[in-house]
Symmetry: none
Subunit: 287 residues, 2 copies
DNA sequence: TCTAGTGTAGAATAAATCTTCCGCACAATT
DNA sequence: AATTGTGCGGAAGATTTATTCTACACTAGA
């Protein structure tokens, strides 16, 4: 009995399971075949539903589902369901797997390397999330607004400051007029007083939000200049006053974030703006 | 009692729920805000996890999740979870496809999105290269040297400056004494004159190498402080004077680099240093 | 036709999960 | 400074959910 019940092979990946099902499909009992067909046709249902609901949908008994799972070496239905869920999770992130290898043998490597691989993983994840989160229309609109601005005001403090610093550097190289607010000495308010409807601002603020950033962004907005914001949550206080808001959730490692995705995003924005200005600049004679 | 508990509006679509959360976020109690933020930032977790696991991840009590759900008119947590799950069903397989479509017919998508996906790709590549390029021994040694230093001098100009700015920020948070050289006004040389064998420096320079960075790094090295360097080529002028040299080739898109990998690397170094100092600090009584 | 064996359904059991409730703490208001 | 109200945490209770078990039905072979 035990040589039948004890399967040495509980497939861990969805693909492996799928292959196993297809292989043994022909010599499976009637109801189990039924389950197999349903499982392959409606994997999402299996992932989300309860045993009862799935059983009903597949016109089987709940216990049949358990038997099905056990036939393939699983502990029970729940274990099988886990495979179906993980499939949905990792639908987009093939990096997860690749980097899990790195994380695994982190026992052998020095701690510092473990930390590094953690940040690399977080970076990959962040970039994936970035790709998903950004709406093309929003990005296009933001680029347009900022490209059309006379002067671009960069507002960022603390953790976000390095990003604006890099933007300022790049804008300088690209000959796009911009002013980084809050670099030093309290002349910020005087600088912001120059802003008008023909200008625009780009504000960056991550979670603990610096009140100064918000205040300055608001000041600019009140002077009629559209504000484009980059933040890490829709809860950001910048949400209310922004013409366009980008939400980029930067993954963290051990509580620290590496700005990898934010950097990629802002560079794209920066280059996009410069590109658009180059095209506009030839027709409109605003040197 | 019933007019408070009986909300007429249990949002059925995820978007409606999201909107409702955003609208009422400001007048939500503390923990409920916490849940709201977590929910919007990690919708997948809510869809898959159990109340207990989600509660733990969001640092809340399980009962708070139920209260949260009820605040928005749901029957209980399960009803709310159903909304999150339905979202996943719809969006399933639309993410990656969308990006792939964008990459394929880049004529159809706005140019700005094409630039973004280019930078994202470059970022992934950079991170992969980083994982391969860094020698665990070198990283460990660098961490050790910098952790043992009395003061860490950060030397970076131009394109590298944002990186050192972020390091300075992180070091400040972690209470690691450091000095960012070259912030403003030409007192750099005076600052560097304070460096000695018990200190250490971290220099970053990418091509075209700023001569000032090299000079300052050399000055520190000559005063006996070991220099750790991050650069993009073994031919960097920093190569000769560095105790440890890291070579990280950042992929570019259209000639611009996004610092994604450099950021990940320096954050790993920063956190590694802080971690090591924390361990050392308990034995050595250097407050 | 009878018998042995395997598969299935449904109920009972066990486990996990969600929900409710109550005491406490904190904050705002008088 | 006292008081009232609201929010929170934790544990007990209720419900849903998965699993096991037993009796029955069907098929195949003699």
């Amino acid at each position: 009995m035990d040589d039948k019940a004890t399967k040495p092979s509980p497939p861990v990946s969805f693909d492996a399971l799928r292959a196993a099902i297809l292989e043994r499909r022909s010599d499976l009992p009637k109801r189990l075949t039924q389950v197999a067909a349903y499982a392959l046709d409606n994997p999402d249902e299996i992932a989300f539903g309860t045993a009862a609901s799935i059983a009903e949908a597949a016109r089987v008994q709940a216990s049949t589902l358990v038997r099905f799972a056990q036939h393939f070496g699983f502990d029970g239905f729940s274990s099988l369901q886990r495979v179906f869920r993980s499939r949905l999770r990792e639908k987009t992130s093939s990096y997860e797997e690749r980097l899990r290898l790195l994380e695994q043998d982190s026992g052998a490597m020095p701690e510092s390397m473990g930390i590094l691989s953690g940040f690399i993983t977080a970076g990959h994840r962040s970039l994936d999330a970035l790709a998903k989160a950004v709406e093309p229309e929003a990005l296009e609109k933001a680029t347009e607004i900022l490209a059309g601005a006379r002067t671009i005001y960069l507002i960022a403090k603390r953790r976000s400051y390095p990003i604006s610093a890099y933007m300022a550097y790049a804008f300088g190289k690209l000959r796009v007029p911009c002013i980084a607010v809050g670099t030093a000495s309290g002349i910020d308010d005087d600088l912001l007083a120059l802003a008008g409807p023909r200008d625009a601002a780009f504000a960056i603020s991550f979670s603990p939000y610096a009140s100064e950033t918000v205040n300055q962004a608001r000041a600019v907005a009140e002077r009629g200049a559209p504000v484009i914001s980059l933040t890490d949550s829709a809860f950001s206080p910048l949400a209310g006053l922004s013409a366009v808001l980008f939400e980029v959730a930067e993954s963290d490692h051990a509580g620290f974030r590496s700005l990898s995705a934010s950097m990629a995003f802002t560079m794209a924005l920066t280059v996009g703006i410069a590109e658009k200005r180059r095209l506009q600049g030839s027709s409109q004679s605003q040197s």
